[in-house]
Amino acid sequence: MKSALTRFLELLKTGPISGFRLRTKLLLLALTTLALPWAGCQYAREMETVLRESEQQSLLAVTTTIAGSLRGRKELLFRADTLPGNGGDRDITPMVLTGAPLIDGRADDWDTDARSLVRAVGPGGDSLRLLAATHERWLYLALLVHDNRWIFDSSDINSLDPATLGDRVWLAFDDKRGGQQRLFFGSTGPGPVRARRIEALEYGRETAVTEPRIEGVWQRGADGWVLEIGVPLSMIGQHLGVLIDDRDRRGAPRSSFGTLETSDLRATGRLVAASPDLNEHLRQFAQPGVELRVASASGALLTRLEAPALPNDYTRMRGFLPRMYRLFFDGNIIPRSVSQAERERAAQELTVKAARGKASTTLVAGRYENSVIVAAAAPILSADGKQILGVIQLAQTADRWLTLRDRALTRLLNLTLFVTLFAVGAAFWFAGRMTLRISRLGAAAETALGREGSVTRSLPESEAQDELGDLSRSFSSLLGRLDEYTGYLRTLAGKLAHEIRTPLTIIRSSLENLESEAQAAKDGTPGGMGENAKVYIARAREGSERLGAILGAMGAATRVEEAITHSDRQRFDLAALVRTTVSAYGSAFPDRRFACDLPSETVEMNGAPDLIVQMLDKLVDNAVDFSTDGATISIRLRADDTHAEISVANPGPPLPAEASTRLFESLWQSRAEPDRRPHFGLGLYIVRLIAEFHGGSAQAENLEDHSGARFSVRLTR
C-alpha cells in the first residue's frame, strides 16, 4: 500500500505542478507563508479562551470571597432583620430600580415584575395590584386598583367626617422604634396627594395632620385608578402594608381589601429589602467594570451596585485592514449580541443555580457586537451553613480582552502580511536570478560545442560557490576533456602524416636506389633485373607516390591554417583579382568554359590576395570536379558597402540534403564515385577557413532549377 507521502511526492512529480516553471514553483512555495496568519489567529483565539477562562475563574473566586464576607450576616443583607420566605403573600419585595421613577400617577414606567407584585382581591370584582421598588433611599409604591367607581372626598374642611369620605388608601408600617404608623390618602380629585395621619386632640377630638415626607400622585387608570407614592426608607421598620377603603358612594360604608389587618390596620406583611448598610459593605469590593448584585434566596433582587466605568472600555479598531481581518478570522466563539431582557434572563438563571447552593460562572453576550460579559454567582450561606440567605452575583465586561485580541491580531496580521510580501518578493527575485543563471548556463552549454568541433571551455557561473557553480565546473571539466579529445582528433591527421612520412621516405629512397642499381646493372654488369622487375618497381613507385599525395593532402589543412596565421592584409581590388584569376582558369581547365560576372567599378577590399586566389582555386576545382566536359562554370562577384560576395556555380548533380551545412567541414566529402585522385574534402574546408579569416562565411546551395550547385563566399571588405 502506498503511503500518503509517496502519493503526494508522486503528484509533485507528475501533477500539474511539475509543468510549472521554476519561478512559479518558488512563488507557490512563498505563498505558503500565508498559513502564518491562520496559525496566528488560532493562537490568538487560544489565548483569548485561556484569558477568558482565567477571568471567569478569578471572578468566581471574587464572588465566593464576597459571599463569604456576607456569610451569616443577615442583618447586613436584609433591613430590619427580615428573612424572606416565612411572611406569606403579604410580604413586599421591592424591585431595585436603576433610576428613580417619576411620581406621576402613571404605572407605565413600572416593570411589572412578578416577584415584586402583591395582589389583593376585594368584593365585587375589585382588586389591587401593588408594585414596589426601591431606589437609593426611597421606597416607591404603585397601587393599581381595579375599581368600577372612584369616589372622591367632599371638599369639606373636616376630612374626618364620615359623611364626606370617598375612596381611601391606608399605608401602615412600624417605625424603627417599634411604634405603629398609620397614614391615609384621600383626595377630592385626581392629582398630587399628601399622606395624612390622624392625631388625637383633647376631648376625644381627632384631626388629620399632613406627613410632608411622603408624597404621591393619584390618577385615573385603566378600569380604575392608580396611586403612586414615594416613602423614605428610613421611616419604615420591619412591616409594611396598604389597605383600600372602597366606597360605592360618598359616606357609604367601606369595603376594605389589601395587606393590612382590616380590624386594627396593623401591617403584618414584611418589607423584604436590602439593609441600608449592604451597599456600603459591597462598595468596598467594587472594581472598575464589575457589577454586583445581591438577591434573596427566592431570586428577588435586593441591591445592585452599578459597574464603575472601565478606564479603557472596548474600542473597535478602525481602518480597512482590521476590518478585513475580522471578516476573515473572527469565528463565532462569542455569542452574538442579545437584548437586555435576554441578558437579564441569563443572569437570572445563574442566580437560580446559586440559590440552590452552587457557585457557577457563565458568559453572556454583551452590549456590543462580539462583546461579552462574564458573570459569576455564589450563594450566601447562614452562619451554620445550612441555610441559603441569598445570592451574590458579579458581572464583568470582557471587552478589554477583545481589545487585546484585536490589537494582537492586527499586529500579528500586519507583520505576517509584511513578511509574506517580503517572502514572495524574495522568492520571486531568487527564482528570477536562479532561472537567469540556469538559462545562461544552459545557453552557454548549448553553444559550447561549436559546429566544427571547437570547444568553449569557460562557462558562466564557474565562480559561484553553490550547486550551480559545481554544475558549471563539471560542465567545464567535461568540455575540457572534450576539447582535448577534439584537439587530438584535429591533429591526428597531421601527426599521422608526419609519422608515416619517415617509413615512406625509406620505401621511396630504397626504390630509387633499386632503380639506380638496375640502371647501373643494365649499363654495366650482366645478370641485372629482368623487365618484369622494372614493372614492379614502377608500380611500387606509383603506390608510394600516391601515398605521398595522401599525406600531403592530410597535412594541407594544417599548412593552410599556418599560412593563414602568417598572412598579411593589404588593400587590393577584388574585381581585378577575380578577373585575372578567372582568365587563367581557361588555360588550366581547357574542357570547361568560364563565365565571369563582375561589377563595373573596382571592389576595394582589405585582405590577403594570395588566400583569396587559393580560395577561388578550391571553389573552381570543386566546380570542375562536379561538372562534365564543356560545362560552363559561372563566377560572380557582388559587393555592397561592407561585404563582397563571390559565388561559383556549376551545372551538375544537386547537393545531398545534409550536405549544405557539412560540406565545409574538414574531411567530409560527398562524391558519388571514387576516383583516383586522393580527396579528403579539404578544399571546401580551406575555403571556409579563408572566408572566416576575412570575417565572412561560406555556404552551398542548389541552383533554383536543380540543374547544379552554387557555392558562395561572403567576405568583409
Partner: protein, 229 residues
C-alpha cells in the same frame, strides 16, 4: 680526392639509402645517428658537405644545434637540412642558422643529388675568379649563375639554393610569367602552392632587407610570378 658528405640522420634505413645514392655518385659518405657522434667526428675532420635532419634521437631540435656548431667551425661549408618537418617556422629557423637549403624528405634522390652537385659547383666556383658570361645583370640586380650569388645595388642578398634557383628562373626572361610548376622544375623541387608562396614571400623579404623599395617580383593571380625591372 673524393668529396666527403656527412649524413646526420637517426633513421638508419634512410641514412644508408642516402649514403648508397651519394656513394653511387662517387662521393665518400659518412653517416652519424646523433649530434654527439657527428660533432666528435667533425672536430677531428670537417666533411665537404653536411646533410642534417632536425630531430636527432632524443633531441627534437638537435639538427639546429648541430648546424649552429658546424657553422661556427666553418662559415663556407654547405649545409642542407633534410627533414620530415615541413612547417614554415622550421624552414625559417633553419635558413636563419646559415643552412644553404631546407628540403623535405619528399624530395627524390635525383633532386637531392642535383642540389648536392650544385652546391659543390658553387664551392668550386667561389675558389675561381668570377666568369663574366655566367653573370646576369638586370638593373640593380647582379646574379652569378656559377657562384650562385645575388647582388642588389651591389649589396649581397643571401638566398638559399631553392630561392636562388627561383630568382634565376624569374630573371632569365624578365617580364615573362613563370607559373608554379615552372618554378618548381627550375628549383629541382616538388612543392605545394603554399610553399611556393612562402618562398616568394621570403625572397621579397630578403631583397627588401637591403632595399625597402624593392618591388621586382610581381604576383600574377591565377598564373604565377614575373620579374619586373
Amino acid at each position: 680526392m673524393k668529396k666527403t658528405i656527412a649524413i646526420v640522420e637517426d633513421e638508419r634505413a634512410i641514412r644508408d639509402n642516402y649514403a648508397a645514392a651519394f656513394a653511387r655518385e662517387g662521393y665518400a659518405v659518412r653517416g652519424y645517428p646523433n649530434r654527439r657522434e657527428a660533432m666528435t667526428a667533425f672536430a677531428a675532420r670537417l666533411p665537404d658537405l653536411a646533410v642534417i635532419d632536425i630531430s636527432l634521437e632524443d633531441e627534437p631540435e638537435g639538427g639546429f644545434e648541430l648546424c649552429r656548431e658546424l657553422r661556427g667551425l666553418s662559415p663556407e661549408l654547405p649545409i642542407i637540412f633534410l627533414t620530415a618537418r615541413d612547417s614554415e617556422l622550421d624552414a625559417v629557423s633553419g635558413l636563419r642558422l646559415g643552412a644553404d637549403d631546407f628540403l623535405t624528405k619528399d624530395l627524390s634522390l635525383a633532386h637531392l643529388i642535383a642540389r648536392v652537385n650544385a652546391l659543390f659547383r658553387r664551392v668550386d666556383a667561389l675558389r675561381r675568379p668570377p666568369e663574366e658570361k655566367q653573370v646576369i645583370r638586370r638593373g640593380a640586380l647582379t646574379l652569378d649563375g656559377e657562384r650562385m650569388s645575388v647582388l642588389w645595388n651591389n649589396e649581397v642578398v643571401l638566398l638559399s639554393l631553392t630561392e636562388f634557383w627561383i630568382v634565376y628562373a624569374l630573371t632569365k626572361h624578365p617580364g615573362h610569367v613563370k607559373n608554379r610548376q615552372q618554378l618548381m622544375d627550375a628549383a629541382n623541387v616538388v612543392l605545394d602552392d603554399n610553399t611556393i608562396t612562402s618562398h616568394i614571400k621570403r625572397i621579397r623579404r630578403k631583397f627588401q632587407a637591403v632595399d625597402p623599395a624593392f618591388d621586382a617580383v610581381h604576383t600574377v593571380y591565377g598564373m604565377g610570378y614575373r620579374w619586373v625591372e
